[in-house]
């Protein structure tokens, strides 16, 4: 689009005067390797969403349990299996003095109990004193001076106030237990946060082990070459024949269940893939001139590996790490799911899911939260990993 009103006052094609300092000005700010990586990573929305999610998860896992008024082991059997949202009924009467009396309560369709709540949606407690009539499959309560009958003889359960069928007033969030409670009346939210702590701890341990064992093992094997390399890689091959999950299971049998055992078991075998990747990298990198130069200047092999070779292999190392972290998190939750992970009352996302399976017919919300937590975390790490791979090595982009 051209602007017809615009008048060219001078020749646009005239040569600019060549100044020495103007030629030296660099058009864009200089960025190092990591600046470049960061810029490329920031351009990738899914990766950034993943990164933000992980940061928030870490913050929530660290500070959440401190702020929460509940603990992961505190039971309240009177308030078990409470839903995170409910649909309360309202009953009100005016007694002889003329003072109005109002009660809000909701029906837990899973166990046919009534729970009193206040107008905001905070739990007051279980309503007791119902007269059960097993033959008629109904329970009668006296609430705010009126007879409230819960009739569960047919699905869905109906509720009568003074023999008139009553409908609830509208959905409300549970203000006391945001995510509801589990079979033993423990707060689901705080247990989720402890689950997040465990998952992140496992991720952290996997990272450390990969750095200190995997990278060094692969580095030494690749740098040494020859017979040492052959033996070291045969060992890795033997270990890698069997899926890591199987090793972790065997380790757990030896070590007995528990958080420390899970961490130890994952730590013991989780460096094999990293060792292979690093070895491959070192095999090519050690042909470089700078390695010869360092060797000529008398650097010892340890120094060459740590100061010259590994920093140059950091891209593939990071990419492998972002793929190994979610798989470590997955293995922990998998172990906990089949009952070999953390021991109760400690909660991991795996145990929370497996406990929820038992009650999922009546309380699907107990399944929803841990399933969503582990899935979203896996998504976040996967997205970040994909983004980081593209950012670290633009040639790999597909």
């Amino acid at each position: 689009m051209s602007n017809p009103d615009m008048k060219l006052t001078e020749n646009p094609w005239a040569l600019l005067e060549l100044k020495a300092d103007a030629a030296e000005v660099i058009a864009s700010p200089a960025r190092g390797y990591w600046g470049d990586v960061w810029a490329r990573l920031r351009a990738r929305k899914p990766a950034m969403v993943g990164l933000v999610f992980i940061v928030l998860l870490i913050l929530a896992a660290v500070f959440g349990p401190m702020i929460s008024p509940y603990s992961y082991f505190e039971q309240n059997l009177k308030l078990s299996n409470i839903q995170p949202i409910f649909n309360p009924y309202t009953v009100s009467t005016t007694d002889e003095d003329g003072t109005p009396e109002t009660a809000h309560f909701f029906l837990n369709a899973g166990n046919f109990n009534l729970y009193e709540v206040d107008a905001r949606g905070a739990l007051i407690g279980l309503i007791r004193g119902g007269r059960k009539d097993m033959a008629m499959r109904r329970t009668t309560y006296q609430i705010a001076g009126q007879a409230v009958v819960v009739d569960y003889s047919q699905q869905p359960t109906r509720l009568f106030v003074d023999d008139v069928e009553t409908r609830p007033g509208g959905w409300q969030w549970n203000k006391t237990y945001w995510f509801g409670t589990d079979q033993l009346g423990r707060d689901v939210l705080v247990r989720q946060l402890y689950g997040a702590r465990i998952s992140l701890l496992v991720a952290f341990v996997a990272t450390i082990v990969n750095f200190f064992i995997g990278v060094l093992y692969g580095g030494i094997s690749g740098y040494a070459g020859g017979r040492v390399d052959a033996v070291m890689m045969r060992i890795v091959e033997v270990i890698a024949t069997i899926p890591l999950t199987l090793y972790v299971i065997l380790m757990m049998v030896v070590l007995q269940s528990g958080l420390i055992s899970v961490v130890l078991a994952i730590g013991t075998v989780f460096w094999v893939d990293m060792a292979r990747i690093v070895r491959g990298q070192i095999l090519t990198l050690k042909q470089s001139d700078y390695v010869d130069a360092a060797r000529t200047m008398g650097a010892r092999p340890g120094r060459i590996i740590v100061r010259h070779l590994l920093p140059n292999a950091v891209g593939p190392i990071l990419v492998t790490l972002t793929m190994l972290i979610p798989s470590a998190i997955f293995i922990e939750s998998f172990m906990s799911f089949i009952g070999l992970g953390v021991t109760p009352p400690l909660a991991s996302w795996g145990t929370l899911t497996s406990n929820a399976v038992e009650t999922m017919r009546a309380y699907p919300h107990q399944l929803l939260f841990p399933a969503a937590a582990i899935s979203l975390t896996m998504f976040a790490f996967n997205f970040l990993g994909d983004g980081l791979r593209d950012a670290l090595d633009p040639r790999l982009r597909k």
Binding site: E237, T241, P243, T245, L250, L340, M378
Partner: protein, 327 residues
């Protein structure tokens, strides 16, 4: 049809004729060494467990414990137990179960094998027969809606853990909608959820891998050459494109089988299928050490064999591969 293409002279029969026997022998030897290492490792681990195999909550009279130890040969010195066990494994006898009197580990494996093999085989089939075509569709429609749809599905499949997929599907399709039974394999519909849950991750992984590998292959010079020679597009795609892009897919088939095995632990538990995975998990919770050892060794032997088969397939698919290990 007398065109000679780049790979047409490397048919299966000819490959069989020039089978590298030395290489295969060396691989077989390596397989045995690996198996031996795993047997030894599991033996050491199971004997490193604190307390004897009969330690439980209930106190046991020392005489009874001694009698049990004698019955299972646990009173012999450790090295003798080890050689006894090794001898047993060599003659395909994995010993008796400690927890179920009169039941041998062989019998436990035989009981579960049919169920595990059926679901496992169906899952492998699903991975190959669904994953590969999905990847091809995505690759051929790069950046158009089929590609986006497949990649979204594959991202979900790779990220969401199998036990979450299994439980959520169980809730939605079995409990809520009632389309499939909640457990058991009495009816063909009973297979649907376990197979989807079992194959979900690797199906997605293979779809992603096929797509990226196909995209890479399509860019190769020999594809252009084939087009320039005037070959029909379908022929180019099948003979040059697919065959070459499937090489990386074949290499992951070994890990696929391995991970389907471990995946079956949790899937068989969720859907209450009486397979080997369920026996394995049960024997762990029961602390049935001979069963744990036996099933681990069975898995290991099976996996080693599968990896060997996959390597042989790889040789056939990629004639460029060097037979000698790069040492």
């Amino acid at each position: 049809m007398t065109q000679t293409t780049l790979h047409a002279n490397s048919g299966f029969g000819r490959w069989l004729g020039k089978l590298p026997l030395g290489y295969i022998l060396r691989r077989a030897l390596m397989m045995l060494v690996t198996l031996w290492a795993i047997i030894t490792l599991t033996f050491i681990m199971m004997h490193a467990v604190p307390g004897g195999p009969f330690v439980s909550e209930r106190m046991m009279a020392p005489e009874i414990e001694a009698a049990l130890n004698a019955k299972f040969g646990l009173d012999a010195p450790l090295w003798q137990q080890y050689f006894n066990y090794l001898g047993g494994v060599l003659s395909f006898d994995l010993g008796p179960s400690f927890k179920y009197p009169g039941v041998s580990v062989n019998q436990m494996i035989a009981d579960g094998l049919a169920v595990t093999a059926q679901t496992g085989l169906l899952a492998v089939l699903a991975v190959v027969a669904v994953g590969v075509p999905l990847g091809i569709i995505a690759g051929l429609n790069r950046n158009r809606w089929p590609d986006t749809a497949v990649m979204m599905l594959a991202t979900v499949g790779v990220a969401v853990p199998s036990y979450v997929i299994a439980t959520v599907m169980l809730y939605v399709f079995a409990l809520r909608l009632g389309w499939v039974p909640t457990f058991g394999l009495d009816d063909w519909r009973g297979y649907i959820l376990p197979v989807i849950a079992l194959s979900g991750f690797w199906l997605s992984f293979v779809a992603r891998l096929t797509r990226s590998s196909l995209l890479e292959t399509l860019d190769q010079d020999y594809m252009t050459t084939a087009r320039a020679k005037g070959l029909r597009p379908g022929q180019i795609l099948i003979k040059h494109g697919l065959r070459n892009s499937l090489i990386p897919v074949v290499t992951v088939l070994g890990p696929v089988v391995a991970n389907l095995l471990t995946g079956s632990f949790v899937i068989e538990q969720i859907f209450a299928l009486p397979g080997i995975g369920r026996h394995f998990v049960l024997s762990i919770t029961n602390r049935d050490y001979t069963a744990i050892m036996g099933i681990t060794i069975f898995y290991a032997a099976f996996l080693i064999f599968m990896i060997f088969i996959v390597d042989m397939l790889y040789l056939w698919l990629d004639p460029r591969i060097k037979l000698e290990d790069s040492e």
